[in-house]
Every structure is written in structure tokens, then in C-alpha cells.
């Protein structure tokens, strides 16, 4: 069979294109994307805090520190409880001694005794990582050591974090800090090791008044999801566009 050079090149080209066709028709997916397209989208963790129920006992902070091995006396914590006292003169007094770990047992705020007669209103607000849908901490990590899972939780890889602190700076909620022992960025992860194992987060389990609850936003039958979709809930600092996923019942406008 005779074959001119032109013919040969033409056939080679056609053959190469034909061989490449099947490869082009396959979309390349990252493992995370592939997972999201199958079962990942069925789960999105969300947190519900009922501030009306919180009494500021601090058991949640205590449980969190123990469960997540944050040195007990170090002045940092994955979760904390703030006390707000608004007096009749319009002043807002806020404190969170030892992150609220030992409860609020005196009427003193930073050494100042407040006369109960002067108080307009007072309440407690538990705080923790908001597991934002648009997390600025993940955006700014220069090495990708902090990342978002398919079910919405933001995690930190202690083996890869370089400790630059950019994520600490980028979080508008002040939930991040450096772990005193590991020397890497640290934050609340909704007790990811527990919730992925069918257990409750340590703080949720420790709360005697059910002020803290967790649920799956993708499940319409989830009791927490029902509250979030049917009742009037609020989130913290939504002006930053972070789309936080810790929802609050009974949040006062003074809370920041």
C-alpha cells in the first residue's frame, strides 16, 4: 500500500484527535468535588445557640478545653461565654473572665461592682467558630493548611500550618489563636472527630440547659434545622459577608 507523506501526516493527525476525544469528554474532578457530587451535599453542619437558655455556668468551655486538649489554664479557648450587663445609663459592660470557664459567680465586672438596681438587662452569649460558608481564614492561608470540608466545617492541618497568623488576623470573630503546645493555628471545629463519629460536640453534650445544639441544615426534618428555618434567628457580624453558620436565638443588638 502506498502512502504519501501528506497522507501519512493527515492520518496521524486524525488518529491522534480520535484518540484524544474520549479523554476530553471526561470532566476532571478534584476528590472533594467528586464527593460533593455524590453524597457530600446531604450534610451541612450548623449550630444553634439559644441565648435565653444560657446561664453562664461555663461547663461548655470546661468540656471543650478538656476534650480538645487546650491547656486548661492558658488564656485561650476554642469557645467562650460572654456576659453582657446593660445599665440604666446606657453603658454596656462586657466580660469573659477565663473565657467564662469557671462560670460567672460574682456581680463584679473587671473589678467594678454593679448595683443590681442599675441594671436594665443582662444576659450571656456563648461564642465559637461560625464555620462560615465564605471563610476569610481559609482564603488567606498561604499554604492551604486550613480548609473547608464538604459538610461545611473549617479544619486546620497541624502538620502543615506554618504559623504565620494571617488566618488569626482575618477572622472577624476572634475565634483563632495559636495552640500553646503545637504552635499552630487553632480553632473550634465543632468537635469534628466526634460529630463524624455520630456523637455530639463536647460543649453541646456538656450544656445542662440545651442552650447549644447542632444539626444538619440539609435535613428538613432535623429539629435544629426546623428552628433555624421557622423561627427568627440571627447571626454575628453578617456585614463581613462571611455567611456564618452559628445561629442565635434571642440575640441582642448590643452583642458584637
Amino acid at each position: 500500500m502506498s502512502c504519501s507523506r501528506r497522507e501519512f501526516l493527515k492520518n496521524t493527525m486524525a488518529g491522534a484527535v480520535a484518540a484524544a476525544m474520549p479523554a476530553c469528554s471526561v470532566i476532571l474532578l478534584a476528590p472533594g468535588e467528586a464527593k460533593a457530587m455524590t453524597d457530600g451535599s446531604k450534610l451541612r453542619w450548623a449550630f444553634l445557640v439559644d441565648t435565653e437558655k444560657c446561664v453562664g455556668c461555663g461547663l461548655c468551655v470546661d468540656a471543650c478545653k478538656t476534650e480538645n486538649e487546650i491547656p486548661y489554664d492558658a488564656p485561650v479557648s476554642r469557645t467562650w461565654v460572654e456576659r453582657y450587663v446593660i445599665t440604666k445609663d446606657g453603658e454596656t459592660h462586657i466580660d469573659s473572665p477565663k473565657a467564662g470557664r469557671d462560670g460567672f459567680t460574682t456581680g463584679e465586672i473587671r473589678g467594678e461592682e454593679i448595683d443590681p438596681e442599675d441594671i436594665d438587662k443582662a444576659f450571656f452569649v456563648p461564642k465559637l467558630c461560625n464555620q462560615c460558608d465564605n471563610p476569610p481564614c481559609v482564603q488567606v492561608c498561604p499554604v492551604g493548611a486550613t480548609y473547608q470540608t464538604d459538610d461545611g466545617v473549617v479544619l486546620v492541618d497541624r502538620k502543615w500550618c506554618i504559623g504565620c497568623g494571617y488566618c488569626v488576623m482575618a477572622c472577624p470573630y476572634g475565634v483563632r489563636f495559636f495552640h500553646p503546645i503545637h504552635k499552630t493555628a487553632e480553632k473550634c471545629n465543632f468537635c469534628y472527630h466526634r460529630i463524624t463519629d455520630g456523637k455530639q460536640a463536647a460543649c453541646v453534650q456538656a450544656c445542662p440547659f440545651e442552650a447549644r445544639k447542632m444539626g444538619n441544615l440539609r435535613d428538613p426534618e432535623d429539629p435544629v434545622t426546623k428552628v433555624i428555618s421557622n423561627e427568627r434567628v440571627q447571626v454575628l457580624k453578617d456585614e463581613y459577608g462571611t455567611k456564618p453558620h452559628v445561629f442565635y436565638l434571642g440575640l441582642d443588638e448590643k452583642v458584637r
Binding site: 499554604v143 504565620c164 494571617y166 488576623m169 482575618a170 500553646p180
Partner: protein, 417 residues
């Protein structure tokens, strides 16, 4: 609390009123040094480019010096970051697994690009000199000379052609690199401004003007440092010559110096005016729009940090040197004083941005005060204390001394570029 349980930032942070429990001054003196040093690098390069690209002939001598000095400053720009990292052994990770949505991830790439430009420009400017040295040292006796010759042989990279044509090509290449280098230098520093300006959580930092302000003040500080070092070295040479009664007359040096200094001073003033205008614009805009954060920002700027911002930075660091430089009958001594104040002013600007940005709580209900560790009692208090900062500031001069041994950037030996 035992020594290994130290919470980063807790040692030098004092809290006032309500501050979230995890908030501390995490970015301390080394993060002040980082933009300060990169600013000096960028500024030094821009000054050298004024001659190489725009043909400002009277800047030739200081341009040569600035170019070599910017090489000495270059590695030092990365040192503060290294000293600041909690995991310094992982410092290469931003290059290995860059996460490009982060401004910091670009550091390695921009920094290396810039380093390549500076190195190759110096090579093109000095190649003729390297070749001349190889020939001149050929018959010189002694191990020292033969070692020097080997170094120069290495530096020529085997390119020994010193015909007029070849040198003209060198010159052209240096010019192109200097031109390309300006935007890269601005990018290197502008992006340092972006690192801060893009932090939406920080009310003081978040501003699109931040990168531009950083570039302008970078050029100001770079020119000031180059002029200062240049004057000091020239005065020292003149002093030595006077003592020895050497071949070069002191008056000759002083004459050349005065021209260079007055020309550079004009550029310095231009960039200084641009930097101050932008900063004032930023300040006015914040006050006028009075967003939610303005109450706490105002209390920091006009209250707690008033001394740092308005007295030390704007008055002592900007206004006073401005007047010193524009008043007629300027002397070298007055110029030196003005340059020192300019350098101090830019340092205070970096300080007020980095430390000032952490002077208030994210809750807008409290303040944090920074107490810089002076006497170190641990590695961390050395790294992030006064001595760490002094170490960083001394390093470029030591490096310059070493580099200048092989690439003389001052006086008659300077390259041919």
C-alpha cells in the same frame, strides 16, 4: 504557666476593657520590620532605575550604589517573616504548596522574580568590571589574589567579550531589566500593602489605598536610606583622604556628592508629598464616612495613639524633614538629619499600621497595648523583641560590606553601566 505553655502574644499584650479571650497582638515588631525592609528594597531599586531607565545622568553614582544596596537589602526582607513564623522550619511551604487565594502565597514568586531581576541587572552592569578584574589579577602574587580571581572568573559566567558592541548590549540589557524591575519592585511592595489592606476583619487596615500608600512610602524610605548611606560613606572617604592627603581631593568628592544629594532630595520630596496626601485622604475619608468602626478608630487615632501618629509620624517624621529639605541653604548635616527623620517617619507609619491595627479589639469594646520585649528571656522574646528588630536592621549593612568587596559600587571603580 510553664515555659512551653506560653501563648503567643500574651507576653507583650495588655488588654483594656472587653477584648475577646483569644485576641492578642499576634503581629508584632517583625511584621513592622517586614514592610519596612521590603519598602527599603523597592525604594532603593526605584532610585537606581531613575538613572538606568530615565537617564538621570547626575544620579549615576548613587544609582550604582542603590542597585548594589538593594541586593544587600533583598535577603533581609524575608528575614522578619522567618523570625515571625511559629513554624520556621516550614518556611518553604508557601513555595511548595502555594494557596493562591492568599496574598502571602505570592511572596515567594514575586520575591524570587525580583531577586532574579536585581541579580541579572547587577551582572550586566558589572560584567565588564569582572572581566577587567580577571585580567588585572592574572599576574598578581598571593593566595588572596588568586582566590579573588577565581571568584571573578565565576562571576563572569564565562562571558569574556568586552568589545564595545558587547558592552553596549550589556548596557541595553541592564536598561531593560531596570525598566521591568520598577513595576516588579512596586508589585513586591504594593502587595505587602495588599496583605494588610485586604483584611476585611480589621477596620484600620481595610482600605484599597493601602497598597498605593505602601508603595509611595516605600520609595520615600528607600531613597532616604540610600542617600543617607551614600552621604555617610562619601564623607568617610573624604575624611580618610584628608588624613592621608590622598589623590582624590576632598572637595572633589563633596562637589559630586552635593549634586547627587540635591537631585535625589527632589525625588524624595515628590514621593513624600504623594505618600502624605494619600494617608491624609484615607484619614479624612474614614472620618467623613464614619462607619461602625469609626468610634473605636477615632479613640485610637486621636486618643491612645495620638503621640505615635500625629506627633512622631506626621510631625517629626514628615513635616519637620519636609521643611528641613525645602528651606534654602541646605547643608549636608541638615540633610542627614532630615533623612534620619524621614526614615523614622516611615518606620512609625509601619508601626502605626501594624501595631495600631491591633490596638483595638474586634469587638470594638476594648483596647490592646503592645509592650515590646526589650531584654529577651526566651527565643520568642528575642525574635519578637527589640534585639530581633536590631538584628534585622543591621543585617543589610553587613551584607553590603561583603558584596561591595567584589562589586564595588562607590567611587571610581564602580561598574560601567
Amino acid at each position: 504557666m510553664s515555659a512551653d505553655l506560653v501563648v503567643h502574644g500574651a507576653e507583650w499584650t495588655v488588654k483594656e476593657l472587653f477584648v475577646y479571650p483569644n485576641e492578642f497582638i499576634y503581629w508584632s515588631i517583625q511584621i513592622v520590620m517586614y514592610p519596612y525592609m521590603t519598602g527599603l528594597v523597592a525604594g532603593a531599586f526605584v532610585l537606581s532605575s531613575l538613572y538606568h531607565v530615565f537617564g538621570q545622568k547626575d544620579l549615576k553614582e548613587i544609582a550604582q550604589f542603590s542597585l548594589v544596596f538593594s541586593l544587600a537589602l533583598l535577603p533581609v526582607a524575608a528575614v522578619p517573616l522567618l523570625l515571625h513564623l511559629q513554624q520556621p522550619l516550614r518556611a518553604m511551604e508557601p513555595l511548595l504548596t502555594p494557596h493562591f487565594t492568599s496574598a502571602i502565597a505570592a511572596f515567594g514568586i514575586v520575591f524570587s522574580t525580583y531577586a532574579l531581576i536585581v541579580l541579572s541587572e547587577i551582572w550586566f552592569v558589572y560584567r565588564g568590571y569582572f572581566v577587567a578584574q580577571v585580567h588585572a589579577l592574572r599576574d598578581q602574587p598571593g593566595i588572596g589574589n588568586s582566590l579573588r580571581r577565581s571568584v571573578y572568573r565565576g562571576l563572569t559566567l564565562g562571558a569574556y567579550d568586552v568589545s564595545d558592541e558587547a558592552l553596549a548590549t550589556d548596557h541595553k540589557a541592564a536598561k531593560i531589566l531596570a525598566a521591568v524591575g520598577i513595576p516588579v519592585a512596586c508589585f513586591l511592595h504594593g502587595y505587602a500593602g495588599f496583605i494588610f489592606g485586604s483584611v476585611k476583619a480589621n477596620a484600620l487596615w481595610m482600605s484599597p489605598l493601602m497598597p498605593v500608600i505602601f508603595i509611595m512610602s516605600a520609595v520615600v524610605s528607600g531613597i532616604a536610606l540610600c542617600m543617607l548611606t551614600y552621604i555617610v560613606i562619601m564623607e568617610w572617604q573624604a575624611f580618610r583622604n584628608r588624613r592621608r592627603g590622598g589623590a582624590v581631593q576632598a572637595s572633589e568628592i563633596r562637589g559630586a556628592e552635593a549634586d547627587v544629594v540635591s537631585k535625589s532630595a527632589r525625588y524624595l520630596l515628590g514621593f513624600l508629598v504623594a505618600a502624605i496626601s494619600l494617608e491624609i485622604l484615607d484619614l479624612i475619608f474614614r472620618g467623613y464616612t464614619a462607619m461602625k468602626s469609626w468610634d473605636i478608630l477615632r479613640s485610637v487615632m486621636y486618643g491612645k495613639d495620638f503621640m505615635n501618629i500625629f506627633v512622631l509620624q506626621y510631625t517629626l517624621g514628615n513635616l519637620v524633614p519636609f521643611i528641613l529639605l525645602i528651606l534654602p541653604g541646605r547643608t549636608i548635616k541638615r540633610t542627614v538629619l532630615a533623612l534620619l527623620l524621614v526614615l523614622f517617619g516611615v518606620f512609625m507609619m509601619r508601626w502605626n499600621v501594624v501595631i495600631g491595627g491591633q490596638a483595638f479589639s474586634l469587638s470594638f469594646s476594648g483596647y490592646m497595648h503592645y509592650h515590646i520585649p526589650i531584654i529577651p528571656h526566651s527565643v520568642e522574646t528575642f525574635k519578637e523583641g527589640v534585639f530581633g528588630a536590631l538584628f534585622v536592621i543591621t543585617l543589610p549593612f553587613i551584607l553590603f560590606w561583603g558584596i561591595n568587596k567584589f562589586v564595588p559600587s562607590l567611587g571610581r571603580d564602580a561598574g560601567t553601566g
